[in-house]
Symmetry: C2
Subunit: 207 residues, 2 copies
Amino acid sequence: MNNRNIPKIVIDRLPWYLQTLNQMAREGLSIVSSLVLAERLDITPAQIRKDLSYFGEFGKQGSGYPVFHLMDELQTILNINHIWQVAIVGVGGLGHALLNYHGFARHGFETILAFDNHPNVIGKQVAHLVVQDITHLEDQLRKKAIKIGILTVPARQAQIMAERLVSGGVLAILNYAPITLHLPPDIQVQSMDPVQSLQRMTYFLPR
Amino acid sequence: MNNRNIPKIVIDRLPWYLQTLNQMAREGLSIVSSLVLAERLDITPAQIRKDLSYFGEFGKQGSGYPVFHLMDELQTILNINHIWQVAIVGVGGLGHALLNYHGFARHGFETILAFDNHPNVIGKQVAHLVVQDITHLEDQLRKKAIKIGILTVPARQAQIMAERLVSGGVLAILNYAPITLHLPPDIQVQSMDPVQSLQRMTYFLPR
DNA sequence: TTGGTTTAGTGATTATAATCACTATATAGG
DNA sequence: CCTATATAGTGATTATAATCACTAAACCAA
């Protein structure tokens, strides 16, 4: 086991492997070789083998990796072998859509709190939740010991709301606002800006 | 000018630089040094200077980069110095949210077509568009010469819809479905899977 | 059981990317 | 104008990541 400190980029690929293994499991596959998995992901088999080797020996020579076992291992590695409770801040169009998205729960992320600052939304039921007044944010986060927040507020409010999430004890933020958040280095942030993603593609399109 | 073929990861950072420059411009800043920009982005100044040097010399020694000029240059490099027309496939909750999102238009991405296969949605007005029957997809894409598609359909329909986008002439797909699309190598794909993003963070959270 | 085939794991190698550290140029203050 | 300071651009260096290519183990068909 290749256990000198693990490159972050390896971690970034694991969820992707897991997603594909999930798909393969649903297709009834019970063993998969690095070659087959690699073809599905459009990368090299060596990459997969080396990535996995950072964490242990999960495969068998001659056959490959047992799909379910590898999924379990990846879930343990990724720290998703239990339910994570999540809070959403900002119940506009996107917040609504995310609250109604079943994918979170299906993968162990349970949205249990939703906040907004707009009187028209506060107290309203959205999907399975009643939207709470943003003034209760830190209180509620502490009370429920929430570690993960989803930020779906307008750009100009995002920084302050991110800080409030952090002061409520949140350690990881999924940021849908199109700004770069400034938070302590131990806080995890993943940004989901569709405009940036589009701009990463237009570079390669014919001019 | 450091013009041997440009690493893809450099391209990936340019939209992020641009976003921050935008913000700085709004704050009234007209010149910015690599140091100041780097602090804002939490990277090293050398990284920024080297990245930009792949494309030209945009700064002045002693002072820094003229904000507006650099923005213009980046927009030209990224091929976003004109309007891109975009089609959305799938007008569920997320599709609705994206159609109502003004950020696309504000950054030169104009959503001009929306498709769905559900009778309850077809013909309905959503934001500025009337949702069209998915059967007209390829026709309409060709007619309007659309090169960029946004995919917001359920996972099981995503692959086939991606293929239909491509056969309608689309060259870049922003994929919100939680699957890995298999498309010709010249097709650009950016995936936006919130579950994967959450899983990339949980690894670093206390267990 | 045996021998050819498949495949994981991994040290060595190569490729890619980030950083350093220097040069040349511009700025700003007196 | 002159000098001290700031900063871009970049070749050289270091760090990081991907791939190669080998070994040992497991599989499988006859």
